[in-house]
Symmetry: C2
């Protein structure tokens, strides 16, 4: 019970007079807590994740997920937002961000005890394309999730969990739209699904499912067509959320 009787947490704030002083600060050495991000996007018909190259030991020279420490006065969700902004330069934009899982094996960081709360982010294709692709000093690159280098720490496992979460949510929630521009053709949408699920989907059945389901998910954009060396394609847009259960899993909780 954490905040329960049996010798509470170490004190840090000015002592609250209402709190009995029976704490034993030395008894519970505190771990470091970090947030690691699995930032996903679709580029060149591929699902990609943003990785940074480690300059320092341990795992120097290997690639790792971006992340950083939780500051003492910020919520972990704020940490995730801040890291996302720092890493991608996307400050104000509405990027989908969801808590994934907390990894806390004692030896996952060889230096000291580090518990990490992993988040995943979905960056629309058009947004990720106009990002600085590693203009910083540090090497930052998009990698295909299907061709990852060896990753530092337990980050390969974290990416794996993120992939499974995204695939599973694809069936019940409209998160695919968070990887697409505002307007998209049916083929683009189907491609996104195929890339994420890593298998083919029947064209007609896919569009039937998207369009004729009672809980309307997408709608055509009036008078919006895409032309090219082929028959013009209708543009669609995502219909507002909030009509259905957002996959009661671990959703975008506060």
């Amino acid at each position: 019970m954490v905040e329960q009787t049996r010798s509470g947490p170490p004190q840090e704030r000015p002592a609250d007079p209402a709190v009995p002083s029976s704490y034993d600060p030395g008894r519970y050495p505190r771990p470091s807590v970090t947030v690691d991000l699995v930032i996903l996007t679709i580029q060149d018909a591929d699902l990609r994740v943003l990785l940074v190259e480690r300059g320092q030991s341990p795992f120097a020279g290997m690639w790792a997920l971006p992340g950083g420490f939780v500051r003492i006065a910020e919520s972990i969700h704020e940490t995730a937002r801040r890291e996302l902004a720092e890493e991608t330069g996307l400050a104000g934009e509405d990027i989908y961000l969801e808590q994934l899982y907390t990894f806390g094996e004692p030896e996952r960081d060889p230096r000291t005890r580090v518990i990490t709360v992993a988040y995943f982010a979905l960056v629309p294709a058009d947004v990720s394309r106009r990002l600085h692709p590693g203009t910083d000093a540090a090497a930052v690159r998009w990698f295909s999730v299907y061709q990852l280098p060896e990753l530092a720490f337990d980050h390969a496992q974290i990416v794996d969990v993120a992939l499974r979460r995204v695939r599973s949510k694809l069936d019940w929630t409209p998160i695919a739209f968070r990887l697409l521009p505002e307007h998209f053709t049916m083929t683009q949408l189907r491609n996104a699904y195929q890339i994420i699920l890593h298998r083919e989907l029947d064209k007609q059945n896919f569009s039937k499912k998207m369009l004729q389901s009672r809980i309307k998910v997408i709608e055509p954009v009036p008078n919006a067509l895409v032309t090219g060396a082929h028959r013009p394609a209708q543009l669609y847009r995502f219909v507002e959320e909030g009509r259905y259960e957002w996959g009661a899993t671990a959703g975008a909780q506060p």
Copy 2:
């Protein structure tokens, strides 16, 4: 990247000679990390959660989820197991335990920064019934999740998230069996679903769904019947797991 360059975590273990000593231990004050447990069971046709009464400020006299600090050398899953054993006395038994969500608002504990990794546990009805129902000095009681007292900290929110997770998993995974004894009648199983989902389910359609689905979930126990002041009922048992995706959500990951 946590474990990445920019001024790493404070040191604690004997210095690793391979690690540059550019850390700034004072820069990232560390939060306390706890595990809180939502321990659920079915009793008297009701879904119940185990709560403990707080003896100390803050929230003295209020009820709270059981929980405790993550020790420096144990994984968070081990913390959850240990707390579960301490709170219920169930040491070796195979109790379902799954990570729920991590709550990290800076002010959720008024004393100091505490990040809590919430887990939920499902205790079979027959097991929870033979527990010490608060024989300890501390007051420990089962409460109906539908009639909770006011809870300390953000624990009401945690219970709410747990309920939503359990309900959602009920549709895709056989977690209901973790709340039932090894052998059970169809009516008991349906009752469990009804209690958790808080709505009625059609008798015939329920048993059809349980029995005739391709991915077989339950099977009759040969020559096992329950008698009573009514027609005898067939006993069923859960068929081994592993045949289907365990709800790729946040499942029982390592």
